[in-house]
């Protein structure tokens, strides 16, 4: 498993085991390291990176900008928080260059809660990532919500011990990110809009391509890999599993319990909620309702009960070419 030179391998990561959530025929091989001599151990493996994402499944990851908001999220049942200086809706409204948050703020949020804490870096900004790894965040989001630092290259995520989540609009983009070392994928959606349409579009695009690939033979898969710009062996693994080879969450525009349940029924493993909670009338109540909606996504009776009386939802934006803050989903390549 280790390369002769001792440098971290940048070949395709092994596929996590048991990433399936319904179809149990889709059990992948183990991605655990071969530790066959007693007394050996290894940290920062792809197994523990994708493993943490598997522990977040069926949960809600909430954007927070202060320790107080982080506590509200934890009390509502969030399975992790994303520490930020500004939620995407404010980044949109205020404009300017959006960067990694102040490490001091991130530390305060880490100290305030016991659940995993994530934070965002700009696309391609590997030094921001080195800083966040040193701060001790549990997951890094290489995010299109911040202003990109590199318009060609994403971070080589294999070089880090801390795991990464990345956004994707389609299957090719998702598999390119996994090949760079992402252990967790989310849809891009359109952050800060409270409009779920783009997240639905991206999930549908990924699922359609997976279904197409699942009936292709080898020759067709080679061509399809070229067409969508995906590494062949990851595409082949996806076609065998009939799902992405890592955990896949919905993100970008989710604002209500119904939105969250919609994304779950479309096949996502969990949801990120950004501006949708703390830009609403009653954040604590809405947060709790969205957490319950993700657990009971298949039970309309429960959804009806928890969707009532939540106060004002965040103001939504229509997705237009000249919308304020632009189309964030188009960042990343």
């Amino acid at each position: 498993m280790t390369t002769p030179t001792g440098t971290p391998s940048i070949s395709t990561p092994p596929v996590p085991h048991g990433v399936g959530n319904v179809s149990l025929s889709s059990v992948a091989p183990s991605r655990s390291k071969e530790l066959r001599d007693g007394g050996s151990s290894a940290s920062g493996t792809f197994g523990v990176k994708s493993g943490l994402a598997q522990m977040l499944k069926g949960g809600v990851i909430m954007d927070v900008v202060s320790p107080e908001q982080a506590r509200i999220a934890e009390e509502a049942g969030a399975c992790a928080v994303m520490a930020l200086e500004r939620v995407p809706a404010d980044i949109r409204a205020e404009g300017g260059v959006a960067r990694m948050s102040d490490p001091a703020l991130i530390k305060q949020i880490i100290d305030a809660v016991t659940i995993p804490v994530m934070a965002k870096v700009r696309i391609g900004h590997f030094v921001e990532a080195q800083i966040l790894q040193a701060v001790g965040v549990d997951y890094i989001d290489e995010s299109e919500v911040l202003t990109p630092a590199d318009e060609e290259h994403h971070i080589n995520k294999h070089a880090f011990k801390v795991p990464f989540v990345c956004g994707a609009r389609n299957l090719g983009e998702a598999l390119r990110r996994i090949s760079e070392g992402a252990a967790f994928i989310r849809t891009k959606g359109e952050a800060g809009t409270g409009n779920v349409v783009e997240a639905v579009r991206h999930t549908r695009a990924v699922q359609t391509a997976i279904r197409q690939s699942s009936v292709m033979n080898e020759e067709e898969l080679y061509v399809f890999a070229k067409e969508i710009g995906a590494p062949y062996h990851l595409l082949k693994e996806t076609s065998r599993l009939k799902r992405l080879p890592v955990v896949n969450f919905a993100a970008g525009g989710i604002a209500t319990p119904a939105d969250a349940a919609l994304m779950m029924q479309l096949g996502c493993d969990g949801v990120f909620v950004g501006s949708g909670i703390f830009k609403s009338g009653d954040p604590a109540k809405r947060a709790k309702a969205i957490v319950q909606a993700v657990t009971h996504y298949n039970n309309p009776k429960v959804l009806a009960e928890i969707s009532g009386d939540l106060g004002e939802a965040m103001v939504g934006l229509n997705i237009e070419p000249d919308m304020k803050g632009g189309r964030m989903a188009n960042r990343g390549w």
């Binding site: 655990s32 390291k33 530790l35 007693g38 943490l52 522990m55 009390e75």
Partner: protein, 238 residues
């Protein structure tokens, strides 16, 4: 095997509020145990009532406790633990513990059932998560190590069985050199192989507790152990 062949399948529930429940289900539905068990995802008290045994999976213990409370599932779960077989992995191990360190502010609810004190997230943040080879007593083919996947894992701080409690049986330990280095507090580094913090799997009475994730490997010997040694015997004695 001949000594444990009840006439019906054992119904094993997996608490499916949040976390890696599908992974446990996939493991139970593989040979050689798939013909002995029927798996149910548990989200309500009605689901729980169908079960002979329960697995509480990994995930976030605070999330699961909050969801269980809002569903009115805490009392049924406690009652289940008093009478039936339960296995907790990672977050599930925390919920089965008697007391917890590093609880969220204001405390968090536990189900109890196993007389241990446990620290949540005891080795540090995610960069300290690790995999290690384990030797486990009683596992099939036990000379082949079992890969323990430890993700923000809890750490057992002490065993505190009351005289009336069933005895605790340790079934796997990590050797001290496998444990993450304690950079900030070298005095907290575990060096003694009998330190409770080296314990990663144990049994007490009907219950099983592991601080690692057997469901994240491709090796279902631990699930087989649970069915063979915990679940099926409880059906026979019932």
């Amino acid at each position: 095997m001949a000594n444990a062949s009840p006439t019906r399948n054992a119904v094993v529930g997996i608490l499916a509020l949040q976390g890696a429940f599908a992974e446990h289900q996939a493991m139970l539905q593989r040979s050689p145990i798939k013909r002995k068990v029927t798996v149910v995802q548990v989200r309500t008290a009605e689901d729980l009532a169908k079960c002979d045994a329960l697995i509480i999976p990994g995930g976030e213990s605070t999330t699961m406790a909050i969801l269980a409370r809002s569903l009115g599932l805490l009392e049924p779960l406690k009652e289940f633990i008093r009478t039936k077989v339960v296995w907790g992995t990672c977050a599930g191990a925390i919920l089965l513990s008697q007391s917890v360190e590093n609880a969220k502010k204001g405390g968090q609810e536990l189900l109890g059932g196993i007389s241990v004190k446990i620290a949540r997230n005891g080795w540090g943040s995610q960069v300290e998560s690790f995999e290690a080879a384990l030797e486990v007593e009683g596992l099939r083919d036990s000379s082949t190590p079992f890969t323990g996947v430890f993700i923000r894992a809890p750490v057992i701080l002490g065993l505190n069985p009351a005289p009336s409690d069933p005895p605790i049986e340790v079934i796997a330990r990590l050797s001290p050199q496998c444990l993450p280095r304690s950079h900030d507090q070298p005095e907290r580094q575990v060096t003694d192989s009998s330190d409770p913090r080296t314990i990663v799997a144990l049994r007490q009475g009907r219950h099983l507790l592991t601080t690692f994730h057997p469901e994240l490997t491709d090796d279902n010997r631990f699930h087989e152990y649970f069915v063979q040694h915990c679940v099926l015997p409880s059906l026979q004695s019932a």
